[in-house]
């Protein structure tokens, strides 16, 4: 039934009331991200009335014990602070459901409990299943949801599933997971979350490109020399992360999902509309057009993997990757990766996209830099020293979100000397109000049935297809490309610099 009061009131899709069932409810993600995101939405009045939260996990807990644990962390991490009045009302919507992930009966009890909540709420039985458990349980959770009939849309209602990363560990496991998901939920009800897409600056990429007429005419191989995407972290394997990371590595953990998503936003053609499939159709075309590094030789030529050795980060002495807690001392997992991506389309022909990600680098920063070609070698290029560098447009994703444009200017004085200058836009300077957390936006979008900022099945599989060739060369070929080393606290191995040097490029200094 149409709500006449919604017209023109808020410029976004309307989220609907539902019960959010979180699998893996005792985990860090639930406590640090998901529940604080729902709480912040409640504080802002953006959460639909009647939303309930059910935490599903193995540990034995009462509703109140679960709520208390969530409250303790919410006080520490909530973006909007912690208001006891709001929390005391909000926590009444939170429940705990104890069950093993493989226990069929636990899901039957869950179904009964959800029906009971629907009756209490007197509203529709919309359900949002958020699978935030360890990946090894994804299959179990999905299969049991199906057996319990929880995957079915009740009349006039919806049942949706959000799947957290990692969405598979390679193409076959991703395809398998996609099969399991598609046996359980319709694709339109499946939301593969990539929280990078919920970040304000990632969403701004499309706005920058398609709401400003000055960029799009230049956004091609006629004017762009190359593009760099960097995700630098100044942390190692703190907090026991080594166990997970040593199985995943930088390529799978960050490049397959977050960085290739950013790449597809930068490289895609203008979508026909802003619908979920309109945008995702264009993104997947980019992923499909990536040239495959499908031999060990091509991988050796275009991809560099590395590990940090002991060094200093932020003035602190840090151990090498192989000495980290829960990391195999003979590990061949990369903590650093740099690769060249070529997109074989008319627009991007022979424009390299350089992607790098690393742990224990000098600082934390994620950014995209678009390097324009140098002007023709006449006029100022004829001066001694020429033009000092081409134009660079930088989109800073985090932490200092913003956009800057480097251009060349004349130094004041009687002689003609040129220097680069920077035009800079900082979100934090221009907009005093903080951006919402990515999870807030993404949860609301899912409640509203808007999948634009979620990865589609074909996107995930195309990304894995590209990544798998590299992983195969590293781990299954007879002569695997070598593992480079670099001192922690530096900008990665020399081999990564050489990767760009071959084409006359160099990494941007962050």
């Amino acid at each position: 039934m149409k709500n006449p009061f919604r017209k023109d009131l808020v410029s976004r899709s309307r989220p609907e009331a539902c019960t959010v069932v979180i699998f893996g409810a005792t985990g860090d993600l639930t406590h640090r991200k998901l529940v604080p995101a729902l709480y912040n939405l409640q504080v802002e009045g953006a959460l639909p009335a009647g939303v309930r939260i059910v935490g599903f996990a193995r540990r034995d807990k009462s509703d109140q014990e679960f709520r208390t644990g969530l409250e303790e962390l919410n006080k520490k991490v909530s973006r909007s602070g912690h208001d006891d009045t709001i929390w005391s009302e909000f926590e009444q919507t939170i429940h705990y459901h104890q069950s093993e992930f493989q226990d069929e009966e636990g899901y039957q009890r869950l179904a009964e409990r959800l029906d009971e909540i629907d009756r209490e709420r007197g509203g529709k039985g919309n359900r949002l299943f958020y699978i935030a458990s360890a990946p090894s349980f994804f299959d179990d959770v999905l299969e049991h949801l199906k057996k319990a009939g929880l995957n079915k849309n009740k009349e006039g209602c919806w049942a949706r599933v959000i799947v957290e990363k990692p969405f598979g560990t390679d193409l076959p496991t991703a395809q398998h997971l996609n099969e399991v998901v598609s046996r359980t939920f319709e694709e339109e009800d499946t939301y593969r979350i990539d929280h990078y897409l919920g970040k304000e600056t990632a969403q701004n990429i499309m706005v920058l490109r398609f709401a400003n007429a000055i960029f799009e005419p230049l956004w091609n191989n006629n004017y762009i020399s190359h593009i760099q995407i960097t995700c630098a972290e100044n942390l190692g394997m703190e907090g026991g992360r080594g166990g997970y990371y040593d199985k995943a590595g930088a390529l799978r953990d960050m490049v397959q999902n977050h960085l290739l998503q950013l790449l597809s936003l930068v490289a895609m053609e203008p979508p026909t509309d802003l619908s979920a499939d309109g945008v995702r159709d264009e993104k997947v075309k980019v992923l499909r057009s990536m040239r495959q590094w499908d031999t060990p030789e091509l991988v050796a030529e275009n991809v560099v993997r590395g590990q940090y050795i002991a060094g200093h980060v932020d003035g602190e002495k840090v151990v090498g990757y192989r000495e980290e807690d829960r990391v195999d001392p003979e590990s061949m997992t990369e903590s650093y990766v740099a690769l060249k991506v070529l997109i074989d389309t008319w627009r991007w022909s022979e424009v390299p996209f350089y992607v790098r990600m690393g742990k224990q680098l000098p600082k934390k920063a994620t950014e995209i830099s678009v390097h324009f070609k140098e002007p023709p070698t006449v006029l100022f290029n004829a001066l001694a020293g020429g033009v000092p560098g081409g134009n660079v447009l930088v989109i800073r994703i985090q932490p200092d979100e913003g956009i800057s444009l480097r251009m060349v200017s004349k130094i004041p004085g009687a002689s003609l000397r040129l220097e680069p200058v920077k035009m800079d836009f900082h979100y934090s300077t221009s907009f005093g109000k903080g951006s919402p957390e990515a999870y807030e936006r993404l949860l609301l979008d899912c409640m509203a049935g808007d999948a634009t900022l979620f990865a589609r099945r074909d996107e995930v599989e195309e990304a894995w297809k590209f990544i798998d060739h590299i992983e195969h060369a590293w781990h299954n070929s007879e002569e695997p490309p070598p593992m480079a080393e670099f001192v922690a606290g530096t900008w990665g191995p020399k081999e990564a610099d050489d990767l760009l040097k071959k084409s006359g490029h160099k990494w941007r200094r962050l």
Binding site: M1, N3, F5, A49, T85, R121, S430, K433, G434
Partner: protein, 360 residues
Amino acid sequence: MLDKCTRALGKEVAVGSVDQELRLLWEEDKASTNASLMNLAVYSEEDDAILKNSEIVQAITKEHACRAILIGIDRDASDASIRAWITAHCHLSRQGSKSVCCEQIAFQLTGRATGRLRNTVFAHLNSDLPLVFWWQGELSDIFTERLYSLIDRFIFDSAQWSEPLLSLQKINRMLGEGVGLAPMDLEWTRSYQARLALAALFDDPLAAQALEYTQQIRIVVHPDHRMAGMQVLAWIVQSTGWQRSRDLGLCGDQDNSDTEDRFYFETHQGSDVTVRVEYDASSATLGLVELSSADCVVRVSREVGSAYMHQQLEAGAHQIDRLVPAASDDASELVADQLSRGGKNTLYRTMLPVYLDLLK
């Protein structure tokens, strides 16, 4: 009063050297970042308003980087004069790493000022940035086409107007001229959270079903905010498309008194709706909006001074009762809130004809 307190406005400068003095100001302080997303002009004909407005702008610039231009005018003074002051409002950025500053230029004018005001303001705009013009108090004859044709967003507060109908008709005519300006009525902003909360309740199917069978609407406002109550009613009527009984040729159009206005409508289903807009000095700005039918009551209410509203739905055993944020009563926060939302305020434009009809 102004002479004693002008220190709060910063350094007094000659009007002709404002830009030069601003440059010097930035040269003295190399550690700060000058930020601006818009020109914010604040206009008042009240005595000493620029001092108060300087404080308000200080608060607004925490969230909205701008070049602020404060204008105070004493139009009754016999001599024509103009004085100017410059200062900067600085705040630490969210990360606490930067001191972000916004320039402020204050002008105090006396005497006949129409032309001088326009030229003074427009000579000191940051080029290419939008002009947000906050008009405080009655809409005087200075508000002419030559002025408003250059404004991008026009902030005013219809609660401050002694004859809102006349001023709003002026605004409506201006919008009818096809001016690209976005009207931003702070009285409308005061009801934003209540409208949001009410709209959210009608997402509930039971409330949605009951809407066309509404029998009574009760709106309680503080007497200083009659306009907020009337705007909410206009929004309800405009959204639903209900007809006034008068327009349907039915008896009983409206009854008015000092404490209450009554209106009568008919829904598409033929249900008669009695609307009472009550003016209660003990009420919050917007204390209650309640729609009742035989089976369902939808209510948004707020206690005086509370930062929250109750959002309630009663439909038999099905009940919703929760706290949602209320709009601020503070002018600077209302303006900041309005600036955060941007847009053309199309809903206000759509509601305006119905609102004007109710005011008649």
